[in-house]
């Protein structure tokens, strides 16, 4: 299958597809980080995760309209404001959901799954009622358009680089929060042994709520970043949910490094195969490989050694 291409073409193809893969990787990382906190650390299955991302995307859309209508001078910077608002909005909704639903279901993971699926349907219909069934796109500030030529065959888009930088900085932020702060220690303590954590004076109910809210907030920021790459519709979130869960499970729940490694391998495999096969077959093969590996190694790529 490589015979038709010359060597320099092949290098360019691999470099370009590799870079497309890197953008996909950043998207997967952004999607998976929130879930890695909620599912990996708390063990809660949030099927509405995609809808929290879409909330962030819609917030960004609103902010872009707001800035272009009232503050065109500041338009080039609106995206940073939008991300902050998306974080707060998705986080606040997450807090509400944790209070109303999740906290009653910590001991019934399968029921959490069904309840959050119901929540996702309600959110989808809300988006459809408020924003309409059609997909919406944001206007991107000028400095994010265009691409950087690296050689005469290879070009990289600037918004792609921006999403990558964002993915890296949020990963670092989550890492610091989970593994280098007192709060992260509390979260991990609760995950290990809820009763003992309670007994040593950790406010488990409050920590749970904050953890869930932060996970949802990160999802909101991810959704905000998506608007740079594609448009947003009421059901966009549902498209991502399987990918996202597979990334987290494949990496080994509870391991942040695993999540990133699995996002990397899945996205690279998919984007390189996409060039030679049709998009759907590339996706089928990637997902099949992931499911196959998970059947052989259910604990995922990186797993903590636990005594159960």
């Amino acid at each position: 299958m490589f015979a038709d291409y010359s060597t320099s073409d092949l290098i360019a193809i691999f470099a370009m597809q590799g870079f497309a893969g890197l953008i996909l990787f950043s998207v997967f990382v952004l999607m998976a980080l929130g879930l890695a906190i909620i599912f990996g650390q708390m063990g809660v299955i949030n099927m509405a995760h995609g809808e929290f991302m879409i909330l962030g995307a819609y917030v960004t859309y609103l902010m872009s309209n707001l800035f272009s209508a009232y503050m065109p001078a500041l338009f080039s910077m609106y995206f940073f404001v939008a991300m902050a608002v998306a974080f707060v909005a998705a986080g606040a909704l997450g807090m509400l959901v944790e209070w109303a639903l999740i906290r009653h279901l910590y001991k019934r993971p399968l029921d959490t799954l069904l309840a959050t699926w119901g929540l996702s349907l309600i959110l989808q219909q809300t988006y459809r009622t408020v924003f309409g069934a059609r997909e919406v796109g944001v206007s991107i500030p000028d400095w994010m358009m265009g691409s950087l030529p690296i050689t005469d065959l290879i070009e990289v888009p600037i918004n792609g680089i921006f999403v990558m930088v964002l993915a890296i900085s949020i990963s670092v932020g989550v890492y610091v929060m989970m593994y280098r702060s007192g709060w992260g220690k509390q979260v991990r303590a609760i995950n290990n042994n809820r009763q003992m954590a309670d007994a040593v004076g950790i406010n488990t109910a409050w920590t749970d709520r904050m953890t869930f809210a932060i996970g949802c907030g990160v999802a909101g920021v991810a959704g905000s970043a998506f608007t740079m790459i594609g448009s947003t519709g009421p059901t966009s979130g549902q498209l991502y949910i399987v990918d996202t869960f597979l990334v987290v499970v494949f990496g080994g729940a509870g391991s942040l490094l695993g999540t990133i490694a699995s996002a990397f391998s899945i996205s690279q495999a998919q984007s390189i195969m996409e060039f030679f096969l049709s998009g759907s077959m590339a996706k089928v093969l990637t997902l099949l490989t992931v499911v196959g590996i998970l059947m052989l190694r259910p604990q995922g790529l990186f797993s903590l050694k636990l005594r159960k």
């Binding site: 399968l110 799954l113 119901g118 089928v284 259910p298």
Partner: protein, 380 residues
């Protein structure tokens, strides 16, 4: 005082009354009250009940939540649809195609010969076997791979969901071989018998009802057998069952395959009654909707699964006819309500509120209650 011994007979008198009432509804009330179009619609709902019964056994009794039952429903349905499609694509019927004698969607996709794996579906006998065997083999592979490695709970749910997603993408992507997103449509005859007439649809409704009762009785038998009690024990304390010397994985694989077989029968009957099969019955969304049928009926109640399926689908049809935008709100609220407020669904409401009142009117029937309370779900 000795505790009252719990009877494990195949069917108590109360169960018998329940089955008789359901039989009366399906075989007498619906055909008498509904015109052929509506009857066919209810027949379609009942094909989903096959899936819901399988889910009661897997999920309610066995604690294995599969979010991929649409896969088995779809495989059964597609096997049947392939046979019907080949019969509808005889060289005379497809004379205008550039390659006569192959299904129309293959011709549209520039395929000039029937793929080898379509060939056996020329035979009705092979098809009837394949409807069951293909999904069961598939569920067996999944079951062995997962349960032997002690994967369960939410991981199992996520992986089955991924499998549903993969199969949908595959079917849609390979439209030359599968009919793509439209599915396999324009099905006409079964061994020369036109399935599109009202008489044929009515007859198929009764065949479907009959098969449903066969499946119900198998499920009832499994539920009351030693296997059923072991499944409940595994759901609540898997390790203890394992330490008692039972091979937990084998029981799980068996019940998962049984659920897959039930779903496949439903899928095949769906194809026959509705006249097409498409990937929209395979993917994530339909698969998880099938779980809500079982949940609304009461996840532990085999009969409840049938009522739950009928109720949710009837509501869906009525709502989407008059208030389409309200339906998703309603369905979402149903998912949440059935988890938060009514974990035992309709069956729970019945045994908590209706039955005690009936018992007061008719005290003689009370002696069966002991057996049913012993198997109540712990609300943990």
């Amino acid at each position: 005082m000795h505790p009252m011994p719990i009877k494990h007979s195949f069917m108590t008198r109360r169960d018998l009354v329940g089955y008789a009432i359901l039989a009366a509804i399906i075989f007498i009330v619906f055909p008498a009250l509904l015109e052929p179009f509506r009857l066919n619609l209810f027949g379609k709902y009942l094909t989903y009940a096959f899936v819901a019964i399988g889910l009661v056994l897997c999920w309610g009794v066995g604690g294995i939540l599969s979010l991929g039952q649409g896969v088995f429903f779809g495989l059964g349905g597609y096997c049947m649809a392939m046979f019907l499609k080949l019969e509808a694509s005889s060289p005379e019927n497809t004379a205008i195609q550039s390659t006569p004698g192959i299904p129309d969607f293959m011709d549209w996709n520039q395929i000039t010969a029937l793929p080898w794996w379509w060939e056996p579906f020329n035979s009705l006998a092979f098809t009837l076997v394949a409807v069951i065997v293909v999904p069961v083999v598939f569920s067996f592979i999944i079951g062995v791979a997962m349960f032997r490695r002690r994967v369960g709970g939410v991981y199992f749910a996520i992986i089955t969901q991924a499998i549903a997603a993969i199969l949908t993408i595959l079917i849609i992507g390979q439209q030359g071989f599968t009919g793509g997103v439209n599915g396999i449509t324009d099905l006409r005859t079964l061994n020369g018998w036109d399935i599109r007439t009202d008489e044929a649809k009515t007859l198929l409704y009764f065949v479907n009802g009959g098969l449903l009762f066969v499946v119900l009785l198998i499920a009832q038998f499994v539920r009351k057998s030693k296997l059923g009690r072991l499944l409940i024990a595994m759901r609540d304390q898997e390790d203890r069952v394992r330490f008692s010397g039972y091979d937990v994985a084998n029981f799980k694989i068996f019940i998962f395959c049984l659920g897959g077989a039930f779903a496949a029968i439903g899928g095949a009957m769906f194809t026959l009654q509705v006249g097409f099969m498409s990937p929209s019955f395979v993917g994530i969304v339909p698969s998880i909707e099938m779980v809500i049928y079982a949940a609304v009926g009461g996840r532990l109640s085999i009969l409840g699964a049938v009522y739950g399926t009928l109720l949710v689908n009837y509501a869906k049809t009525s709502f989407s006819e008059s208030f389409p935008e309200l339906w998703l709100f309603g369905l979402g609220a149903l998912f949440i309500a059935v988890v938060m407020a009514f974990p035992n669904g309709l069956a729970g409401l019945w045994s908590e509120h209706v039955e005690p009142r009936l018992m007061r009117l008719w005290p003689g029937a009370a002696n069966d209650t002991a057996a049913s309370t012993a198997e109540k779900t712990p609300a943990e």
